[in-house]
Symmetry: C2
Subunit: 331 residues, 2 copies
């Protein structure tokens, strides 16, 4: 089943046209509220996103580290994987991730479908294999019928599993933040301080990297331009993909949408608070030391980027059958 853009988006569109595209002059664009989505596929993907049986342990699901109750992140410095392994990097939010130009901090996946297969087979994360994940899903009668309903035939493979997860993730946008309301013409949506914070954000150069619908997610940039960034993390960023020395510490610029919810910050999670993150970014990337007052205004602006969180019914997962391979949490 396919649904077209909702009535709400039509209304928004009308409002925008009426206002003569209020944000045309701005470097940030509103998050589009709905995109065309295959609802049945997204519902299947939602189940898979919440299903810990895609991990070796039967304990870790996509939602464990991209927790949709918590801004699509885990709010930990770095994530916890199979057998409590300490992950090398801070889990990026899944919210609005469909707006990223590539996926992962180092951009090693071109889209959400490719991304979704990564953690399942990563020995430090869900520690499964694609083959075993397929075997588990094929053994669950409720999934067998649902895959057939969605895809039209009996095939269940990692391609379809990750395609369904990606379809669900496409729905995880957060429109209608106060900032977007302001962009769309509601001049009362932001306080004076918040507007001043946005002006500072633009005038100081933050928007050079944090722009567009996602306020980021559109380019790789070096972490530590004006000053070296000192990290305990071994992550080298884009270099891990290209092998080039000049790509060392180049990371995908993270989205600032819902940044109020996605603490702690940076690829290594070393930025504890928004105040600290703004300070570090100003100094290291722009060579600018914000005053406490400036910092507070930018933080106030950033908090207006919190949009409507995805609202949906907790999925009920189809039960395993007697033939389902049991999880192996302690192996």
């Amino acid at each position: 089943m396919r649904v077209k853009k909702s009535a709400i988006s039509a209304i928004v569109l009308a409002a925008v046209l009426f206002a003569g595209v209020a944000w045309a002059e701005e470097p940030i664009e509103p998050v589009p509220p709905v995109k065309e989505v295959n609802l049945a596929k997204a519902e299947l993907g939602k189940k898979l996103f919440f299903d810990p049986r895609l991990s070796k342990s039967g304990f870790i699901s996509c939602n464990s580290c991209h927790n949709l109750s918590m801004g699509g992140s885990d709010n930990l410095k770095t994530s916890i994987g199979h057998k409590w392994q300490k992950g090398p990097i801070n889990a990026p939010t899944v919210l609005n991730s469909s707006l990223n130009f590539v996926q992962f901090w180092d951009g090693r996946a071109k889209d959400l479908k490719e991304q979704a297969g990564g953690p399942i087979a990563n020995p430090g994360e869900m520690a499964f294999t694609h083959d075993l994940a397929e075997d588990v899903v094929k053994s669950i009668p409720g999934y067998v019928t649902e895959f057939k309903m969605v895809f039209g035939d009996d095939k269940i493979d990692i391609e379809r599993i990750t395609a369904a997860i990606a379809e669900f993730e496409d729905t995880l946008v957060t429109p209608n933040s106060r900032f977007d309301q302001w962009l769309l013409g509601d001049t009362n949506a932001l306080s004076e301080d918040e507007q001043a914070g946005y002006k500072l954000f633009k005038d100081s150069g933050c928007v050079a990297c944090h722009y567009g619908m996602a306020v980021g997610g559109s380019s790789f940039q070096k972490m530590g331009v004006k000053e070296e960034y000192k990290s305990k993390s071994k992550a080298e960023g884009r270099k891990a993909v290209t092998g080039k020395d000049e790509d060392r510490f180049n990371f995908k610029v993270p989205t600032l949408r819902n940044v109020e919810l996605t603490y702690p910050y940076f690829h290594d999670g070393q930025g504890k608070t928004l105040t600290e993150a703004v300070d570090v970014m100003g100094r290291l990337q722009l060579g600018k030391k914000f005053t406490d007052e400036e910092n507070a205004k930018i933080v106030a602006f950033l908090k207006t980027l919190t949009g409507e969180q995805p609202s949906f019914t907790l999925p009920i997962l189809p039960p395993s059958s007697d033939k389902t391979p049991p999880p192996k949490p302690f192996e």
Copy 2:
């Protein structure tokens, strides 16, 4: 806000009265669909139930082991605790747990409120302390206002935290299973095999322990009556509470509601499938070896005990503040 029993329950009640209490002769009673509930308190409790910040790691919530997508259980032999510790016992389902006469396998908590405090402070589970849990909740502005709204004043303590969680858990009943529809007079709700399975369940003596609304949860019974139960588990059951030798291997009889979803079975999770569990129970508790056909009928009956799963919107948790003590997943 308090709501009275819903219109649906009124209709059910009317239907029951009309049928002259169809189940009056039966040892199993229908799960009551709604009870009086303080909705605001239950909504707060739902957030806390899903909040991993009640654990030391910031990674484990009540829902981690009592997963409401998976029959209120984790579908693991024994649960995974802080730093991937292997738990000593199979996580009992939280579904219909309000119908249990006591909580935990050994009955060491008199009610759900008392139960809820256990895992938070258990070093092998969430590994926190009640004091630290209180500090975290007090530091989160969204919780501060919500506690005040629910309880009428500023106090936030473990008593109120667990009271809210218990209020939410009171809502986790699963009415309207096919078996209950049959009890309520819909003679077509069960197939002949399922009805034959129920008759076997009664005639063989299973109902001596598995009776009432929850089909269990009403008494302690010895595991291994006719034959010794061989387990790798160190759990001694009720003896751990009373200290009495005669209480060794006495466990609370688990509910069989939604038993199709709460695999694996028994206090040690050694029963992999319903077929196996029925066989073991028949031999060890009743001295009866069911034929394959009998076993299949009983299993068919047990699957009719799957009720309507709790349906609710995934809660969005209020974000931490700069003052919130950060989680310590690797300490």
